[in-house]
């Protein structure tokens, strides 16, 4: 890292505001050419906002972006690609029914006489595949590929467009450990060829393994850089979380004897007809207990939640709410029976974005006052109760008639939490309750969950945020490939140990 060569990417004082929240503030980032530079931070710390800025998906309100020492204006991803920046998204953007070759060239096809020039495409893809050891097979359909291969296609897509700076957004979230190792091998090849990799993650062990330097983001701003060789995971975690954030210290146990939700032998078939998505899961949630479920995303947590809510039918097993077997109940019966739901994707399952807030207050509670009177919607009651929720749960919006889409993620989430709490549920199923919300809302939501737990609410908490899981849970299960593989004491376990269980390896914890 000599000062003479210009930095591959430099961000100076980047600030990006969204309605009601500053997503990024005074971001400073210096990435040298030919290094793997990790950006770490908690969920909601502002990593994605920063990457969207760098990839031209939105423009910063303040600050400068420099690529290879020259200032650039990135108005769209096309500008970013022209500047040599490519992005590998966390969720793959591939056409399943196209071949690898077709997917790679899609959007920048070489043509000869108006037709796709397959020979040229094949030659260039072969060059890319060989020089970076990607091992691509151009004629295989993407739908036949595994997750790791698909990711390599995504990387090839970016390289094909001439990118010299690659942004990888949480690339390991969907990979199993062996695939993670292969990915790191690929990254080493890219580095050897002089390319620059910006690697976004919140998994500290991986970051320390692969990165040459690390920038830490907390609460929307860069709080410092670290050398992975000399910084421990513990120190990184402290930088990430910060001393002033609520370390979810274990409080007195509020767990009571009465079970509110008993799941036994629950099995949910996988979508593709392959192995079961949820495999023989048995667990009990008691009054005043938070039962956390840790796991790498895609290991059956979503399916388990769906089955508890009646959105997916299990092939075996029972779900008992209080004393009643609710396995055959409809979703509405379960909601009426006292299951509250904070969905993992609030835009998909938690809100009607185009509808006003008061209609969103009704959603999920269509059969209960104050939102309805008999068969009719109680508009006055719903509006008044929405105003109450907005005041009590600090939802920042002009009024109950504001469409939900106008709110920031944190305010949307606070409305959802307020709505679910207002129905006084017996069991709350909370999936990633603080994902993508600003830190202010995060603390509020944590406090709300703790208070509700103290009042005897049973909570099923699924989260990718290990601090959140360890801090809030009374009992912590680890889910891997659809099974509960371990139950740990959240007061004893470290994030590193937990990570070891989550990936199925036991060697973690060394850090």
């Amino acid at each position: 890292m000599t000062e003479s060569t210009p930095l591959a990417v430099e961000l100076r004082g980047i600030t990006k505001r969204f309605p009601g929240v500053v997503a990024n503030k005074d971001i400073e980032l210096r990435v040298a050419r030919g290094e793997v530079h990790a950006i770490v931070g908690e969920n909601g710390a502002g990593k994605s906002t920063l990457m969207k800025t760098l990839y031209g998906m939105h423009r910063p309100d303040e600050g400068q972006i420099l690529v290879d020492g020259r200032e650039v204006q990135l108005r769209s991803p096309n500008d970013a690609i022209a500047a040599g920046i490519g992005m590998v998204h966390q969720h793959f953007m591939l056409a399943d029914n196209f071949t690898v070759l077709e997917n790679i060239v899609l959007g920048s096809e070489p043509t000869k006489g108006g037709r796709l020039d397959r020979a040229t495409a094949r030659r260039r893809i072969a060059e890319i595949s060989d020089s970076y050891s990607l091992g691509l097979e151009p004629d295989v359909l993407v739908e036949e590929l595994g997750v790791g291969d698909r990711q390599r296609v995504e990387i090839a897509k970016v390289l094909y467009r001439g990118a010299t700076i690659l942004i990888l957004d949480e690339p390991t979230a969907v990979l199993v450990p062996q695939e993670v190792d292969e990915l790191f091998g690929n990254l080493a090849e890219l580095k050897r060829e002089g390319l620059t990799v910006i690697f976004i993650s919140h998994k500290l062990d991986e970051v320390r393994k692969v990165a040459d330097s690390i920038t830490v983001i907390r609460r929307g701003t860069t709080v410092g850089t670290a050398d992975p060789a000399t910084t421990s995971a513990r120190q990184l975690a402290e930088m990430m979380v910060g001393a002033e954030l609520p370390t979810p210290a274990t409080r007195d146990s509020t767990v009571r004897e009465t079970p509110v939700l008993r799941i036994s032998g629950l099995t949910v078939p996988g979508t593709g007809g392959g192995r079961a998505a949820v495999d023989d899961v048995t667990m009990t949630v008691r009054e005043g207990e938070v039962v956390g479920i840790a796991g790498v995303e895609g290991n059956g947590q979503s399916e388990l939640i769906d089955a508890v809510l009646g959105l997916r039918s299990p092939s075996a097993g029972t779900v008992v709410l209080g004393d009643e077997d609710i396995t055959a109940w409809s979703t509405r019966q379960r909601r009426e029976g006292g299951i509250g739901f904070i969905p993992e994707d609030r835009h998909r399952q938690g809100m009607l974005l185009e509808a006003p807030l008061w209609e969103n207050r009704i959603l999920g509670h269509q059969t209960r006052p104050p939102a309805v009177k008999g068969a009719f919607i109680d508009r006055k009651g719903a509006r008044a109760d929405t105003a109450r929720i907005m005041a009590e749960y600090d939802v920042r919006a002009p009024g109950p008639d504001t469409p939900a889409v106008a709110l920031s993620g944190g305010n949307q989430q606070k409305l959802i939490v307020g709505r679910e709490m207002s129905a006084h549920p017996r069991v709350l199923v909370a999936a990633h309750p603080t994902r993508g919300v600003d830190v202010g809302a995060q603390s509020v939501i944590w406090e709300l969950l703790k208070d509700a737990r103290a009042e005897g609410l049973g909570i099923v908490l699924v989260s990718a945020d290990l601090e959140e899981l360890i801090g809030l849970s009374d009992t912590l299960h680890v889910m891997l490939r659809g099974r509960l593989v371990a139950t740990v004491d959240p007061r004893q376990v470290t994030p590193e140990e937990l990570g070891g269980y989550m990936t199925g390896g036991t060697e973690a914890g060394a850090a």
């Binding site: 309605p19 609460r219 959603l363 509670h365 920031s408």
Partner: protein
């Protein structure tokens, strides 16, 4: 102020779209060598004498009734994200069955009419129900199945008309069902004109008007004010959020299609009960497809659909006088087409503008998160229930 503004913004987009459509149509006419101003003059000229003018108004209202009902039927589907293209087939089947059963019985006046209405709604609902069952059990797209059922309905109606349901003598130029008796007909509403002191034209205003208005009000209340309507609209806005909230998506498809089909069953009745008293090979066709345009134009809202239906009927009426003035009547079709296109575009623009305005106002009230906020809430659990900030 706010109410005026709200109404203003609601009406602004369609009004603007109408204006743009008229301008585009005028350009097209000019290119075809037709004088747009002359066309406009003929279109708005309802007649010279008061009697002629009222006759024109009656013609427009009579034509708008089936358009309104068809638009309403389509809109119910649209509101939950279902595209019911099958209104055409649904009202054809409903009308021929209602006409035949209506002609076969004699009941005291109101009961006879009621029976015909019930039969029409039931047949329309059953025909639409086939679409729903196919979608729910076999995953067949409602677009495909309802188009196919349209063709089947037309064929079946022709068979029934020429075969078992035939009421006209052999060799008659128009094949028809038997006529509905006096008690099964709805008299005209021209008494209203006498009451208002207006000229009473020979043409009768359909007695179905109040029933259609009632249907519009019932549908509006059902969609906007009831739990059922909320579930239906929620499904339309986000199927995944609706099912997470406890809406049974399959049942909702069936219910919405049955309701849509029942309203579609009414489409042929204004003509049947007020003018023809029989279903025949010449019965008004194409109303189901026009209903799609009317629903789009009216933004799937009963009030808007009523306005759109009247506008369409007004344009339709103009085609005869246009021909009389030796102008091409196809300009009516051109205007109708461009209106739909312009309205769809204008609605989308209006939606984005209002969303941006809402985001702006939300930003002003929200403001950036104060620096001390996090620390404050982190250590005082009471803040959540006090709601002060």
């Amino acid at each position: 102020m706010t109410l005026v503004r709200r109404i203003g913004t609601v009406l602004l987009a369609p009004a603007l779209a109408l204006l743009i459509a008229v301008v585009i149509s005028a350009v097209v006419m000019a290119l075809l060598g037709v004088d747009p101003l002359q066309v406009l003059k003929v279109m708005v000229d309802l007649g010279d004498t008061p009697s002629q003018q009222i006759t024109a108004v009656v013609a427009i209202l009579n034509r708008s009734l089936p358009l309104f009902l068809a638009g309403l039927a389509v809109a119910i589907g649209f509101r939950m994200g279902l595209f019911n293209i099958g209104v055409e087939g649904q009202y054809r089947m409903a009308t021929i069955m209602a006409a035949t059963i209506g002609a076969a019985v004699t009941l005291p006046g109101p009961l006879h009419v009621l029976l015909i209405i019930v039969v029409a709604m039931a047949v329309g609902a059953i025909w639409a129900g086939i679409v729903a069952v196919l979608k729910v059990t076999r995953g067949v797209s409602e677009v495909i199945s309802s188009i196919m059922l349209n063709t089947i309905a037309l064929g079946l109606a022709s068979y029934l008309l020429t075969g078992p349901f035939r009421g006209s003598p052999d060799g008659a130029s128009i094949v028809s069902t038997a006529e509905i008796g006096e008690s099964g007909r709805l008299g005209g509403l021209n008494g209203v004109f006498d009451l208002l002191g207006l000229a009473n034209p020979p043409r009768q205003l359909y007695g179905f008007l109040p029933i259609a208005v009632l249907a519009g009000i019932v549908v509006w209340v059902l969609l906007q004010r009831t739990r059922f309507g909320f579930d239906l609209r929620a499904t339309g806005l986000s199927p995944s959020a609706a099912s997470a909230s406890g809406v049974d998506a399959r049942r909702m498809v069936v219910k919405a299609m049955l309701l849509s089909g029942a309203i579609a069953g009414l489409v042929g009745l204004p003509d049947l009960l007020g003018r023809t008293y029989e279903y025949n090979s010449d019965f008004t066709s194409g109303l189901g497809f026009l209903g799609i345009a009317v629903a789009l134009l009216g933004r799937n809202n009963p009030g808007g659909i009523a306005l759109a239906a009247v506008l369409y009927a007004f344009l339709d009426r103009a085609s005869v006088p246009l021909q009389a003035a030796s102008l091409p009547s196809s300009v009516v079709t051109i205007i109708q087409g461009t209106i739909v296109l312009a309205v769809v575009v204008a609605n989308e623009i209006a939606r984005r503008v209002s969303r941006r305005a809402a985001e702006r106002s939300s930003r002003q009230s929200g403001g950036p998160v104060p620096e001390g906020f996090v620390t404050a809430t982190a250590h005082s659990p009471a803040i959540a229930s006090e709601g002060t900030s």
